[in-house]
């Protein structure tokens, strides 16, 4: 493509400005909180305060927990996402059209942050980004041992980020009309965390 400016030209203009000397590298402090939250319980407290629901179950009870959450929902199928949790549920081929038609998505989180009630999803960890995005409800399966304090604790140690890493902090929301909160605008309005262990 020939439109645009070459990188060399673009950066050359910038090199003409600034000292190029950043001086002392800036400090990068971690946030500290008055109401500090940690561990699975801390996560659950933050997550539910945002409007999510949560439970903690032993690993073998996961299929049952998923099924229990999904039954009675008005939608054809669950969107799958690399989790072999519930052999007795019907899993469609994944992909955005399938996910769009599903009532509940189930995805595995790589970690969670207790302070803010945040769930972390890696694109390469799940069979599809759409599963946690298009259905009106989503189940996040979290290993209780993977709960860190803050998103920053996770990010600062992250070396090879996947093609997409999403930190999900509660249900989809908007305050674009009259600054009034509404839940479930484009992403899932119902979010359920199942902590394992």
């Amino acid at each position: 493509m020939t439109t645009g400016t070459s990188r060399e030209e673009f950066l050359r203009r910038l090199r003409a400005t600034g000292s190029g000397d950043p001086g002392q590298p800036p400090a990068k402090p971690r946030p500290r909180f008055a109401d500090k939250r940690g561990g699975p319980n801390g996560f659950i407290e933050s997550w539910t305060a945002l409007g999510g629901t949560a439970e903690q179950v032993p690993a073998e009870d996961l299929p049952g927990a998923v099924t229990a959450y999904a039954v009675g929902r008005d939608g054809p199928l669950l969107a799958t996402a690399g989790l072999d949790v519930a052999a007795d549920l019907t899993w469609p081929d994944c992909g955005s059209q399938a996910a769009a038609g599903s009532a509940v998505g189930v995805v595995r989180a790589v970690a969670a942050a207790a302070q803010t009630g945040t769930v972390l999803l890696r694109a390469d960890d799940n069979r599809g980004r759409a599963a946690s995005l298009l259905p009106p409800a989503c189940i996040f399966v979290i290993d209780a041992g993977s709960v860190v304090d803050t998103l920053g604790d996770f990010l600062r140690d992250l070396e090879d980020p996947p093609s997409q890493l999403v930190a999900v902090t509660g249900p989809s929301r908007s305050a674009d009309i009259e600054s009034t909160l509404v839940i479930g605008v484009h992403g899932p309005g119902e979010v359920h965390a199942i902590l394992i262990g």
């Binding site: 645009g4 400016t5 992250l158 890493l165 674009d176 600054s179």
Partner: protein, 453 residues
Amino acid sequence: MSNPTATPVSFGRRADRALADERMRAAIARGTGLMVQRRHEAVAELVNADELRDAASAIRAATLQRLPELLEQWSDNLGALGGQVHWATDADEATAIVAGIVRRRGGKVIAKGKSMISEEIHLNEVLERAGAEVVETDLGEFIQQLAGEPPSHIVAPAMHKDRFEVADLLSADRGAPVSPEIDDEAAYARRRLRQAFLDAGVGITGVNFAVASTGSICLVENEGNGRMCSSLPPTHIALMGLERIVADFAELDVMLNLLARSATGQALTVYTNIVTGPRRGDEIDGPEELHVVVLDGGRSAALDTRFSPALHCIRCGACLNVCPVYRQVGGHAYDSVYSGPIGAVLTPLLKPDDPAARELSEASSLCGACTEICPVRIPLHDLLLHLRHRDAREDASRLRRAGFWLWSQAWSRRWIFRAMVLVARAGLPLLRRMRHLPDVGWLGAWRRGRELP
């Protein structure tokens, strides 16, 4: 040429028009008030908010000092992972790049997330002229698109509308009534826009931060539309200003802890998307192509000036929310993509030759509320003052210049000053009693709405 509905050229005129719009003013007062309150509560959760703000300010300053190096590192890293980086000197180049990608990648429908850069370069007009259907998917931007208006706030684009106005717009779009209940309005938008995400050949978003150490771009949002635009269409185009870069994830952490708290009073936005290249290997969804367009658009010219702190801005909107002028007149009175204090600083920097842009530095009482709240400690009201010092003399009428010169001659001589004191004491009571003073000059401006002292 005289079009009564055309946007007036002076801020004062536009402000007059805005002041007459009681409905808009009520919406803005309510919206900004709530955002400020939520922001205070969210910042209060941080024990070390001041430390973080100082750090954020230092990080932004250091970034600008080594911008070429960071951009190079970032684009090398992203390129190695299959991301394509484009460099645009100005709006024309940026829109041409995007239009080229859209043409090549096909797709009639373009799903668009919130991007101030796209507003800055008037991207929609260009794409629509090329025959594409551009769908704004952020709820506020969607409302604004239906209204045929630019956003009036960098975080809450439709803050100036109440739910009844929104219902009218949505009903017209639907061709059937949408009730003025906010839940129903949001539900309608969800249904209406869902197909656009699935049909779109190209998704366009902004970028909040680019991370040099990994080649990532980070995009924060609450609704999920940004995630949709960056996950579902086969091509994702992200637009960013050249200053949007941070060195690594530790810096990103500092910024993320301040951004959402300052913007909407959340600890984090619902979705923090960190995209590092297009879909990889055997991933079953995600864009096949990722393009990032980096815009200069006048920014590099501000880098070596005393105004460079304006480029530290992380677009949280807090300065708009506390600004007493913005509170009265809303965003459209600024007639710029960027409104409020940061808009009044940034617009004349990005459009140095536009006298209408330079006039914006006058749209402030210099009260300093913006400076006080800015998470990255941009001295906004000082910058406004410096802009006045840069431009006032050049832009002023000869009368105004002469007025200040005369004043300074008089006030620098004690005897004239004393004489003026006597004149004022004798004259003011007379002036006050005169009912029919000519409404001209400063005297007239003062008497417009106020009695003389």
